[in-house]
């Protein structure tokens, strides 16, 4: 109970930062819209590629954009800790008996909530652009869940990198380094049968691809439960492993003080 309340306090802090900073809120809410419109326009002709069978362009791209945004959004999570180190906030938290897991879990929950909200915006805009959610409301909820899980995993990873590297530049580098390759090494923007075999091989181990496949199957197609549940399981395992690693990174940081 105490752990849950402590986690919620950390989440609440993130929500306050978002709501009290109009520019940050504005960017958070418009980014999904811009990404969907931009990538939609860019990849509109994808349906004309011989061998493409993913349905309409908006049906194919929507889960891809959702997942890409989840990684990008959650990837910055660790930045808050780097600011807290410089400000003395982290030091105050670390001399308190607060459960270290709550410091990580609170920001992870915040990232998952923001990404869920962004996913809802993308889903609604895509609907207006003619997306056909074959999986119905249940499918859409599964897509949101998948995005939230992926965001949770990357939020922990980002926090871990922040605690170990302790520098803004290092975290910016890590996020930029990871985002595009992980997106391109998945079926987010391109059907798997149309990409080189080695990319297909790598994609099998890429959490971004697990999320795209599960989200696309659940929301846009006749759901393949085997695929969706197995990918959900993998993502959940990843979330737990990343959270454990990030929590350990707090002790590593403390040892360096």
């Amino acid at each position: 109970m105490t752990a849950a309340r402590q986690t919620w306090q950390v989440t609440l802090r993130g929500i306050r930062v978002l709501l009290r900073n109009p520019a940050y809120l504005g960017i958070t809410l418009t980014q999904p819209i811009i990404w969907l419109l931009l990538f939609g326009a860019l990849f509109k002709a994808i349906t004309k590629i011989p061998g493409f069978h993913g349905g309409s362009y908006i049906n194919f791209l929507t889960p891809g954009i959702v997942v890409m945004l989840a990684v990008s959004s959650a990837g910055w999570s660790g930045m808050g800790f780097i600011e807290d180190m410089a400000a003395g906030v982290l030091e105050r938290e670390l001399v308190s008996p607060v459960w270290r897991g709550a410091l990580n879990a609170g920001t992870v929950l915040y990232s998952a909530l923001v990404v869920s909200l962004q996913t809802v915006l993308i889903v609604l805009l895509a609907l207006a652009l003619g997306a056909n959610y074959v999986g119905g409301l249940g499918g859409v909820l599964l897509l949101i869940l998948v995005a939230a899980l992926l965001a949770a995993a990357f939020s922990s990873l980002s926090n871990g990198v922040a605690m170990l590297a302790r520098q803004r530049e290092a975290l910016i580098g890590a996020v930029s380094f990871v985002l595009l390759p992980l997106t391109f090494l998945s079926s987010a923007l391109m059907q798997q049968s149309l990409v080189p075999g080695w990319i297909r091989t790598i994609a099998r181990f890429n959490p971004v691809n697990w999320a795209v496949e599960a989200g696309r199957s659940a929301a846009m197609q006749h759901i393949d439960w085997g695929l969706v549940l197995s990918r959900l399981g993998l993502l959940l395992a990843l979330v737990l492993i990343c959270a454990a690693l990030a929590t350990r990174a707090f002790s590593t940081y403390q040892r360096s003080l």
Binding site: T2, R5, Q6, Q9, V10, L12, R13, R16, V17, R20, N21, A87, G88, V89, E91, R92, E93, L94, V95, S96, P97, V98, Q254, R255, S256, L257
Partner: protein
């Protein structure tokens, strides 16, 4: 009387080779204010970090409120309050929100927490600012909030790491009054680190001077000062002849001063000669004559009753301000 803080032979080295603590031992009696005084980089903050479980020593042991910092860090964290050098409040949250989150981190919640938050807001004069974001607070208000956050869970031992650094003189005096009130009314054990002599002099019942990772002397301010017999004479030498012949002349003058009856502890540093005299007024003419006969020019002469600065000079072998700026040069 039992010790609220007991540290034995703490050592800590930071990579690559900075020895922050070189075997520091100290003991603080329950219910007293203890001052750790020293220049920047002496090891004061590292001591607080070790005692507050923020970091572990390479060797040595410490007990705070009777609990071993290495064996039971969580137990120590429950028993202590820490006010760090930097403001620990979340800037975008209000004072009340910060205090509420802090309380939850210490396992306090519900009505009990709301009551305590209202209580400390009132006590530290922050009730009117309770719903304002902390980033709009003045430096003094932020400091009061820091202390309110450190006291919310009613710790047995409070650590104040340079609590008045960066405050304007008025806020500084206000902070001193607050710390005195805490000690008097709550009978709390307070460890305060400072590099202000006057702060240690005024607040600390006992104090220890820290230099280069060790405690060089410990006692009450009065004890430390009265251990220094006589007045302190400080002679600022004329600039420009510190090299070659000038340096030799200065060394000669130093020896000559030591031979004057009633004058001792002569040291030369940074263009200034320091000496101690049983009766300063009587010794000055002889001192000036000796300097003159060695051809050493004098820019100014100061005489003073013993101060903590002198205590530091005696035990660390150099002036406090010189040590302070020496560290800044190393850091820069």
């Amino acid at each position: 009387m039992t010790a609220a803080i007991e540290a034995i032979d703490l050592k800590k080295t930071y990579p690559p080779d900075v020895q922050a603590l070189k075997g520091l031992s100290m003991s603080v009696e329950t219910g007293t204010i203890f001052g750790l005084l020293g220049p920047n980089g002496a090891g004061k903050s590292t001591t607080v970090r070790v005692l507050s479980t923020l970091t572990r020593p390479d060797s040595g042991t410490a007990r705070v409120a009777g609990i071993d910092v290495l064996a039971d860090p969580i137990g120590v964290r429950r028993a202590i309050g820490v006010v760090g050098q930097k403001h620990g409040g979340a800037p975008e949250a209000t004072g009340r929100e910060n205090l509420t989150a802090q309380g939850e981190f210490y396992g306090i919640s519900g009505r009990e927490l709301r009551g305590r938050v209202a209580g400390v807001l009132e006590r530290f004069g922050l009730s009117d600012a309770a719903e304002r974001q902390v980033k709009t607070y003045s430096g003094g208000m932020q400091r009061r909030l820091d202390i309110a956050m450190g006291l919310l869970h009613r710790p047995q031992v409070l650590f104040l790491d340079e609590p008045t650094t960066g405050l304007d003189p008025e806020a500084r005096v206000g902070m001193w009054q607050e710390i005195e009130r805490l000690a008097a009314e709550e009978r709390m054990t307070i460890l305060i680190t400072t590099h202000y002599m006057d702060e240690a002099d005024r607040l600390a019942a006992r104090l220890a001077i820290v230099d280069r990772g060790r405690i060089v002397v410990e006692g009450t301010a009065a004890e430390l000062k009265s251990a220094l017999e006589g007045d302190r004479i400080e002679i600022e030498l004329a600039a420009g002849d510190g090299d070659g012949d000038g340096a030799a002349a200065r060394a000669g003058a130093q020896l000559a001063l030591e031979r004057i009856d009633g004058v001792g502890e002569v040291s030369l540093g940074d263009g200034t000669l320091y000496a101690r005299a049983r009766d300063g007024g009587a010794a000055i003419p002889a001192v000036l004559a000796a300097l003159d006969s060695h051809g050493v020019g004098v820019a100014s002469v100061t005489m003073a009753r013993p101060s903590l600065d002198d205590v530091y000079l005696r035990h660390a072998g150099r002036a406090f301000r010189a040590a302070d700026s020496e560290h800044e040069e190393v850091a820069a």
